[in-house]
Symmetry: C2
Subunit: 217 residues, 2 copies
């Protein structure tokens, strides 16, 4: 107990947290390219100029490292996509900003392998276990968030009453994920294509298309 206090006092806990964050940042980047199974503790240590056991000690098992990486990526996703969209007024404009923020997040790219969740969701979709569950939960949360944004836009009368929130969220999500091809083909035009598809779909259901951008970029 005294030791913990001492550790805090001399900054060791703070340094430990910074190291942990540095590990997770690198882990998420690697996993977006190589997958969460392809992510190895030895390689991670090598890239961070640390020892294997030094990395290992922060998590206790590979599965815990994977789970912590999923949680970290989720925080990045919220900061990059959800938070920026909250600056737009609720309703259709926020729904659109959500779509646009996703495109920016995927195309910048924030993770070198494109959207972290698009990559690992496919990797774990046919595997059982806690990591798969955590990925599925994060993915579902994003789809629910999109769906709720549709519901809100409809409540505000900015989408027609016959817009099916679950169906529309599915379609918008499908367009975002299809942009993963940009990496495989090294062709960025797919982001424009996704943007056009989303805009076209929303325009058809909008009561006031003026709330959406004018031209397909």
């Amino acid at each position: 107990m005294l030791k913990v206090t001492t550790a805090k006092a001399d900054g060791r806990v703070v340094r430990g947290d910074q190291t942990r964050r540095a590990i997770l940042e690198r882990a998420a980047a690697i996993a977006s390219v190589e997958g969460l199974e392809g992510l190895s503790i030895g390689r991670l240590a090598g890239e961070l100029d640390s020892s294997k056991s030094g990395v290992f000690a922060h998590f206790g098992s590979k599965e815990e490292l994977q789970l912590a990486t999923v949680r970290w990526a989720r925080e990045v996703f919220v900061a990059e996509v959800i938070t920026p969209a909250l600056r737009a007024p609720a309703g259709l404009r926020r729904l659109w900003r959500l779509c646009e923020a996703w495109l920016e997040y995927a195309s910048r790219p924030v993770f070198p392998g494109g959207c972290f969740f698009a990559s690992v969701a496919v990797e774990f979709d046919a595997r059982p276990g806690r990591v798969s569950d955590a990925i599925a939960e994060a993915h579902r949360a994003w789809q629910r968030y999109l769906e709720e944004a549709v519901v809100r836009a409809r409540e505000l009368g900015e989408l027609t009453a016959d817009a099916d929130p679950r169906q529309l969220a599915f379609e918008l999500d499908a367009f975002t994920r299809a942009t993963q091809d940009a990496l495989l083909f090294e062709e960025r035009s797919v982001y424009t294509r996704a943007r056009r598809a989303m805009l076209h779909r929303l325009r058809a259901l909008a009561t006031d298309p003026g709330l959406l951008p004018k031209s397909p970029r």
Copy 2:
């Protein structure tokens, strides 16, 4: 040379081909779940009650095994999706059969991990090399095939002139791939959702909606 002839005569080459096909069938099934990197020669041998070197000898390297598996999966895809659609008359009906055959292929499922190409395309999208190239080429061929089906339907006057083939192919392909969620969430309703999305999109562009199925199933 004489030896080769003898081998043919006593059926060894035929048996070799059968073994090779059995290996590739299993390899494609494993890879759709674990990925083409997660596919190991040792595990493959174990599942086939063979020895590691017995499997290895058929391909010479892991990369050649991966390439042969991609070619095999491509043949399966053609037999399951392209060939059935050719029974429909050219134009909008064939385009629709193509979409429907894809849904059946993915949902049956032909591969335990869903669509083989949807799985490995994401796995290899940020990696260089021959395997990635082969996957990209197969994926592109499917998109081109969809696009050509759109062009043909438009030439026959069954789709309006303003239907953009590349854009429409992108959107239909996006809906097919979003069905991969069915495995992650263990929820088959996503196939119905994809079907509805495709049908809705095609109806809006069809000059005679009577060529498409009446009700969204």
